[in-house]
């Protein structure tokens, strides 16, 4: 795959994932326990960190 296309794709998914962080507040409003929502936040943060590493690797590979 073309390097720029790959980078665009990673950044698109990264931006969507970062935007999801605010959605966890809605889960708490819907009655989910804070500790359960916090665990989901941690899982998403972990995914975001992984995608950031992927983005850095893709940038270095250009």
């Amino acid at each position: 795959m073309d390097g720029m296309k790959r980078l665009n794709l990673i950044i698109k998914k990264l931006r969507d994932a970062m935007g999801s962080m605010k959605d966890f507040d809605e889960l708490e409003k819907a009655g989910l326990n804070k500790k359960d929502v916090d665990r989901m936040r941690q899982a998403m943060e972990s995914k975001i960190r992984q995608m950031m590493e992927d983005a850095i690797y893709a940038i270095r590979s250009l």
């Binding site: 296309k5 665009n8 794709l9 698109k12 998914k13 969507d16 999801s20 959605d23 809605e26 889960l27 819907a30 009655g31 989910l32 359960d36 929502v37 665990r39 989901m40 899982a43 998403m44 995914k47």
Partner: protein, 174 residues
């Protein structure tokens, strides 16, 4: 139709009660999740549907299946990610069409009774070529039927009338 739905909800509650009373916790369960989209305008999603995987899909004859997911050996506090979307290059950049879910799974079973729940959110995406539809479907914690109790039941977690999308789930042992 309202009576039918009320009876099905009662049946769902009954199945959950039977599951709680008749079985003790033993092994990890598999979490099964399915998403459907209505294709027949007259088709209605029922709150509970009976049938193993193939029968379940056959019964939903007015809807197309979008996702069928089987997460094996799930344990308490698992965060389950289910994603099926397409990124497509359009005139305005990358579009995104599909479903992206993040669910938390709780298995609070004890030696005396079983309790399996799932909740979280799914994003139903239809973005690109001028469309900007993003629906955030919040799924409250919902008790799941356990097929290991002898009844192959699927419970509806969420329905979006506008997009015609519905999510179902259960847990199974094998």
């Amino acid at each position: 139709m309202l009576l039918k739905r009320a009876l099905l909800i009662t049946l769902a509650a009954g199945i959950a009660l039977v599951a709680t009373e008749s079985a003790a916790a033993d092994d990890a369960r598999n979490v099964n999740f399915a998403a459907f989209q209505r294709v027949d305008a007259n088709f209605e999603f029922d709150p509970i549907v009976l049938g193993k995987f193939s029968d379940f899909i056959s019964v939903m004859d007015g809807a197309q299946i979008l996702i069928l997911s089987h997460t094996a050996d799930s344990i308490n506090n698992d965060v389950i990610n289910i994603q099926q979307d397409v990124l497509r290059q359009g005139k305005d950049g990358l579009g995104d069409v599909g479903i992206n879910c993040q669910l938390t799974y709780l298995d609070e079973s004890t030696p005396e009774s079983t309790s399996y729940e799932v909740g979280g959110f799914c994003k139903i995406l239809d973005v690109g070529d001028g469309r900007e539809n993003k629906l955030l479907a919040i799924i409250p914690m919902t008790g799941l039927p356990d097929t290991a109790q002898g009844v192959d039941a699927w419970v509806m977690l969420y329905e979006d009338e506008v997009s015609g999308t519905a999510f179902y789930a259960n847990v199974s042992k094998h």
